[in-house]
């Protein structure tokens, strides 16, 4: 990365294909890229494996910054289905809203959605941290396995259904909880990690306003010794 130019490279998608953009990002010649006229195209900046910075100026389609491993991607607009899905590390920020399955299956890194996220936010999350400035839709954190999900607004129906070990911090109302998801006490260590996540996301809410939800751990094993 040392030989990379410090000059920001601008890629205009009204004249360049997404495939060409991603080819450049997969073998970066610069530390920073700016993407113009995204117009909701799919797979923008997917598969980054270097610590490059990508600013997408406009709305992104499906799987923006998918599989990110070390990049810093900002969508200056809204993102479609599966933004930062399966992220390994790095930071993805969406200044607008995100569609379904934001941060799905993510293993690591930080996903910040300044607006609201739609259904299935954080589905099957495996270690990613997700911070949502607004609300999240129904069926979010379904089968969440690890990581933290912070929601500054409200959560839709079926929050955390069949959840394993992820920690969910919700500031507003959770419309209903899914199977095996329960409210848990906010201990000091939770307040501290929540404060750190809010700071990382650039949000100023008081951690004391949040409630914590997690797994009751009753679905971990099939019930043994059934007698018929």
């Amino acid at each position: 990365m040392d030989a990379l130019t410090r000059k920001t490279v601008t890629v205009d998608l009204s004249v360049t294909s997404v495939r060409e953009l991603n080819r450049q990002l997969h073998a970066p010649a610069a530390r920073a890229y700016e993407v113009l006229h995204p117009q909701g195209a799919h797979a923008l900046a997917a598969g980054l494996k270097d610590p490059v910075t990508v600013d997408i100026r406009g709305h992104a389609g499906y799987y923006a910054a998918g599989m990110n491993d070390g990049g810093t991607v900002t969508v200056h607009g809204s993102a479609g289905t599966g933004v930062a899905e399966n992220m390994m590390s790095g930071t993805v920020r969406v200044t607008g809203d995100a569609s379904q399955s934001a941060g799905a299956t993510g293993h690591g890194g930080l996903l910040v959605i300044e607006g609201s996220a739609s259904m299935r936010c954080g589905i099957s999350m495996k270690g990613i941290d997700i911070v949502v400035g607004g609300d999240i839709g129904p069926m979010s954190a379904f089968m969440a396995q690890a990581g933290r999900l912070v929601v500054c607004g409200e959560a839709g129906d079926g929050l955390g259904d069949s959840i394993y070990e992820a920690r969910l911090y919700i500031r507003g109302k959770a419309r209903s909880l899914g199977a095996d998801c329960v409210e848990k006490p906010m201990r000091d260590e939770h307040g501290r990690e929540l404060a750190a996540l809010l700071t990382a996301a650039g949000l100023g809410h008081d951690p004391a306003e949040f409630r914590r939800y997690g797994s009751a751990r009753t679905l971990y094993h099939f019930t043994a010794h059934n007698e018929y």
């Binding site: 117009q39 909701g40 195209a41 389609g61 809204s78 569609s99 259904m119 839709g137 129904p138 839709g156």
Partner: protein, 296 residues
């Protein structure tokens, strides 16, 4: 997959642009179904003049051209050939025109009828089809288009959406109904007949039966959610308006944008990106099993 776009104009100043706006929207969902497309336009007076009824048909290659076959029945016939589709309009009632079309063109498939509605279907690249339909030249107050990723029946003009089985009604569907055969049997028992084995047609017939009883789109779609099992994002239009509903799991995409000048719905945001004033629109995704309806 399957791609849906729909546009309901509130501002009459936009009516002359309906076709160009809809064509641009259609162009953004081509990848979701690249080998066929159907379009419906409400209020295109080129092809369905005021005081006329219009019937859209897939006439096939057998028999005389539709215009010739019907020339003896009507003096002021307006006939438009648009790819595989022919739109026939005459200054009579919808029922009279339908009866005449069925008599003169016994092998043609009727794909739309009403006093305000023209429907186009065909196979091929959706952009080429939009040209064949002269979509860019269409004016009107409401329209929709569908690109089909065929899963359960062949890629044919007849298989294209919308399914238009009641006067000035259209249904487009992304998904698949699981219990359509059961509901089809129930409807057939009530005397409803079907054109195809398609699951989406069952949805359209179910709604048409409800609307014929006087229910509005909102109530009829709530009943559909109760009766139908499976995956669906539906866009349904009528002479009064425009409605969107998704199933309880809502895995088929839908996004709605609203401004004071229009309401639009699409499978993906990019289909909405070119609409005038999109930067100030209220944009949201419809919640599961909630009916969103707008009337004129």
């Amino acid at each position: 997959m399957c791609g849906i776009v729909g546009l309901h104009l509130r501002d009459p100043d936009l009516y002359p642009q309906l076709g160009t706006l809809l064509e641009a929207m259609l162009g953004q969902v081509v990848e979701r179904g690249p080998d066929s497309a159907g379009v419906a336009v409400y209020g295109d007076r080129r092809r369905c003049p005021d005081g006329y009824a219009a019937v859209s048909v897939l006439a096939g290659r057998a028999g005389p051209p539709p215009g010739e076959a019907l020339a003896a029945d009507f003096v002021d016939l307006v006939v438009t050939e648009a790819g595989a589709t022919t739109v026939i309009a005459a200054p009579v009632t919808v029922d009279d025109l339908l009866a005449a079309v069925r008599r003169a063109l016994p092998h043609a498939r009727v794909v739309g009828s009403g006093t305000d509605l023209t429907v186009y279907k065909g196979t091929g690249h959706p952009r080429a089809l939009a040209r064949a339909y002269d979509l860019a030249g269409a004016q009107g107050w409401q329209g929709l288009a569908h690109t089909r990723m065929a899963t359960e029946s062949a890629v044919t003009p007849e298989g294209c959406h919308p399914f238009s089985v009641g006067p000035d009604q259209c249904l487009v569907h992304n998904g698949s109904f699981a219990n359509h055969a059961t509901i089809r049997r129930d409807l057939e028992f009530e005397g409803v007949s079907f054109d195809s084995a398609n699951d989406s047609e069952v949805g359209a017939r179910f709604l048409a039966a409800r609307l014929a009883k006087g229910e509005d789109l909102d109530k009829a779609l709530r009943a559909l959610c109760e009766a139908f099992d499976g995956f669906y994002t539906l866009l349904v239009t009528s002479k009064d308006g425009f409605a969107v509903v998704r199933d309880a799991i809502a895995c088929k995409p839908a996004i709605i944008a609203e401004t004071g000048r229009w309401v639009a719905m699409a499978s993906e945001f990019r289909a909405l990106a070119g609409l005038p004033g999109i930067e100030d629109a209220r944009i949201y995704e419809p919640e599961p099993e909630r009916v969103y309806a707008w009337t004129r």
